[in-house]
């Protein structure tokens, strides 16, 4: 159990952040907006011009209001760092994001639970992307090797006319534990939504993913993409749903799950629906073992079989 002063907790988080692949220097850069939250304590919150990060500590977590002012184009990515360092804990993050019209921002979020034996991390996000605004969100998790974590991640995103929402969720280091990922995006006229999930399930990981895109505005476009690799006794269910409700809207669901071993179980449920005759939504889903031809292609360059499989798996999750 790590306890003590805010400074000690901050140092612990920075160290774990670095181990999880984060850039430690970015947390010290004054030109970068950032937020570091450990359990329910805000350890650091730095704004830059055009960005507001308002926080309120709650019993089990933090409520956050993240505002990007209209027309602001943020040069350096905003860094968010959430974590629970002890073996047990509950962290509830309620996140409200408002990206003003014509704004542009890139956000890198690191979620760190390196010692989790019995940890629950919940995120409930309500996000609005303004007209012609662009929001790029990358969330990377690091969970350690105990697998004692439950993730409940929910987001509702509204993308207004001409706006762009791109999110990438990656969890390939450590055990996933139990994960329930539920992202739903509503796209207005000429807006774009791209949801990407990449995860490596090992041990007894239990992964549920729901990516839902509603193409409600004319010319809206959406992609729900997932890449999962499962080994040991891990199981995963991926649902990709896209609804073409407006003329000339275009959507695609793309799911690949690789099963490495005999006990892992993968399920893919793509769902496409069109309620407008000028809309088009497509899907593709592939589940199977690592492709033998790919493995032998790399083996013919001198890699042994295990290394070849490793390279293919890392490529899928990159």
């Amino acid at each position: 159990m790590i306890s003590g002063s805010i400074e000690e907790e901050y140092e612990g988080m920075v160290e774990a952040y670095e181990k999880a692949g984060g850039d430690k220097d970015s947390l010290a850069d004054k030109d970068i907006a950032k937020l570091v939250v450990h359990e329910n304590r805000v350890l650091s919150a730095d704004e830059v011009s055009g960005i507001k990060l308002e926080t309120k500590e709650t019993e089990n977590g933090v409520d956050i209001r993240f505002l990007i002012e209209e027309g602001v184009k943020v040069k350096k990515p905003v860094h968010l760092c959430f974590g629970v360092l002890p073996e047990e804990g509950l962290q509830e993050i309620v996140l409200k994001v408002n990206a003003g019209d014509n704004s542009e921002v890139s956000v890198i979020a690191h979620c760190i639970f390196p010692n989790a034996v019995k940890v629950i991390h919940k995120m409930d996000a309500d996000i609005e992307i303004g007209q012609n605004a662009r929001f790029d969100y990358k969330e990377t998790h690091y969970h350690g090797e105990f697998g004692g974590i439950e993730l409940i991640l929910k987001a509702r995103v509204k993308v207004n006319k001409g706006g762009v929402w791109q999110s990438t969720f990656a969890l390939s280091d450590g055990l996933v534990g139990k994960m329930d990922y539920d992202f739903e995006v509503f796209c207005e006229e000429d807006s774009v939504a791209e949801l990407i999930v990449k995860a490596y399930g090992k041990g007894e990981d239990d992964i549920k993913i729901l990516e839902k895109i509603h193409l409600n505005g004319e010319g809206a476009r959406g992609l729900a993409k997932s890449r999962l690799v499962l080994s040991d006794k891990a199981k995963a269910e991926v649902r990709g749903e896209t609804y073409g409700n407006a003329p000339h809207s275009r959507g695609h669901v793309d799911c690949i799950e690789l099963v490495n071993g005999t006990e892992a179980v993968a399920t893919a449920i793509p769902m496409v629906s069109v309620t407008n005759e000028a809309a088009k939504v497509t899907h593709e889903a592939a589940i199977g073992s690592v492709d033998r031809r790919q493995v032998e292609t790399l083996m013919a360059r001198g890699l042994d079989e295990d290394r070849a499989v490793d390279v293919i798996v890392k490529g899928i999750l990159r």
Partner: protein, 252 residues
């Protein structure tokens, strides 16, 4: 360098490779010329040790060592590699990564040279994934570049010209010659007489057997006269094949 003796392969009670004998000498480009379905790719797979292609009988000796029991990796580590006719696409693996994996730890400079040699602009391709966003011709040229980066002792090139446009073909041929100049012996498997023009020696393959071996011009002419017009193409009757083998020997 490579000696293949009396090689047989039967799959589903069908003889695919039928007592094949072949010698690739050190430093040479050796063309294997054959029509579709004669066993060209199967021969490449047998030499490389691809899964599911284990000889029913016969020997393959590489640099004095019997390679019959070695895995694909082990054969590659011995110095044999294969540029596949239809190379796999691997999501998330960039051209730079793929060529870096090709043994010898080639640096970016060497990787860029290899891409140049197959007519691909390094800045445009280094960070591209070798996935379905590449055209068939681009992927083939990257396959050849990866062989160049690896510089194996024996490079097996399976139909290196398939999917390559006519403008890129001379670049490809000069790349193969350069690979040979840099020390790799080459076994080039093809149905194209144009491709074997750069070979030192050519063997004609039909129904899993080498019918004869000789200089490129002579073999191309023989191939044209006997194989392209053969009524038994792809599935020659045994007697017809015996006749061809006999004819080949008599012509010698």
């Amino acid at each position: 360098m490579l000696q293949v003796d009396e090689l047989f392969l039967e799959l589903d009670n069908k003889t695919i490779i039928n007592g094949l004998n072949l010698e690739v000498k050190k430093g040479e480009i050796h063309g294997v010329l054959g029509e579709n379905g004669t066993g060209k790719t199967t021969l490449a797979y047998l030499i490389m040790g691809v899964n599911g292609y284990k000889p029913t009988s016969g020997k393959m000796i590489f640099e004095g060592k019997d390679i019959g029991g070695l895995s694909v990796s082990q054969r590659a580590q011995e110095g044999i590699s294969l540029a596949w006719q239809e190379p796999a696409r691997i999501e998330g693996l960039t051209v730079r990564d793929y060529l870096s994996l090709s043994g010898n730890n080639p640096g970016v400079k060497r990787i860029s040279e290899c891409l140049d040699m197959v007519g691909m602009e390094p800045l445009r391709y280094l960070e591209r994934d070798i996935d379905s966003t590449l055209s068939g011709g681009e992927r083939k040229r990257i396959e050849l570049a990866s062989i160049m980066a690896m510089q194996p002792r024996l490079a097996i090139l399976d139909e290196p010209d398939s999917g390559i446009d006519i403008v890129s073909l001379p670049i490809l041929l000069s790349g193969i010659l350069e690979l040979n100049r840099q020390g790799s012996s080459i076994l080039m498997i093809t149905h194209s007489e144009q491709m074997v023009e750069i070979a030192h020696r050519v063997s004609v393959l039909c129904a899993g057997s080498i019918l004869r071996t000789g200089p490129p011009e002579e073999m191309s002419s023989w191939f044209k006269d006997n194989c392209q017009s053969c009524a038994h193409i792809n599935e020659p009757m045994l007697e017809a094949l015996s006749e061809l083998i006999k004819k080949g020997k008599n012509d010698d």
